[in-house]
């Protein structure tokens, strides 16, 4: 078998995973919105994104992002990267909007 350094950081099947967290949590509004964004981007009208692209983008975030971000944080980071990759949005546009929203929230 090949060595483990060829294994993606997401490809954890069979590895020790530590104790199982059995606590439940309600989905937050922002998580629901991320899910809705993904549904809308992939619908027949837009066809801007596929689940396969989402997965590939998540697998490309880097190990620190993968372990440090929550499930839906990984989704939205991956979605943003794919939108920039496809030229739907520019990184500058995203940064500008984040700055506007942050300023408004701080005011």
């Amino acid at each position: 078998m090949s060595d483990d350094n060829t294994r993606g950081y997401h490809d954890i099947g069979g590895l020790a995973g530590g104790p199982i967290d059995r606590s439940g949590h309600d989905v937050t509004l922002s998580e629901t919105r991320v899910d809705a964004i993904m549904m809308l981007l992939g619908d027949d009208e837009r066809r801007l994104m596929r689940v396969d692209e989402l997965r590939r983008a998540i697998e490309s975030l880097g190990e620190d992002a993968y372990t440090g971000l929550s499930y839906y944080q990984r989704w939205i980071a991956a979605i943003a990267n794919i939108m920039v990759e496809k030229g739907v949005l520019s990184r500058a546009e995203i940064d500008r909007r984040i700055a506007e929203i942050t300023a408004r929230a701080a005011a």
Binding site: M1, S2, T6, R7, G8, D11, G13, G14, R50, D52, E53, R55, R56, E59, K86
Partner: protein, 94 residues
Amino acid sequence: MTARFAAGDRVRVHDRHPPGHVRTPFYIRGHGGVIERVCGEFRNPETLAYGAAGLPRSTLYRVRFRQTEVWPDYAGAGADTVDVEISERWLDPA
């Protein structure tokens, strides 16, 4: 396109580690099992992941593996199995 394998056939998963998006789990690569069912034809997730059309379609199979074959230190029952859905692109006859 006709399916290369049928339920009951013995198969072995390729021991490959290509770059990019792969749906065949690392832990099952190189292992041998039996076709449990033919799942149908699907586009290729490895190329869909990069915005391509994912064609041509290829047959997907549910493959059943013995846990004692997959894990060298498996401590559960000898009859235990794990089913993994694997594309024909990743299978050879065993």
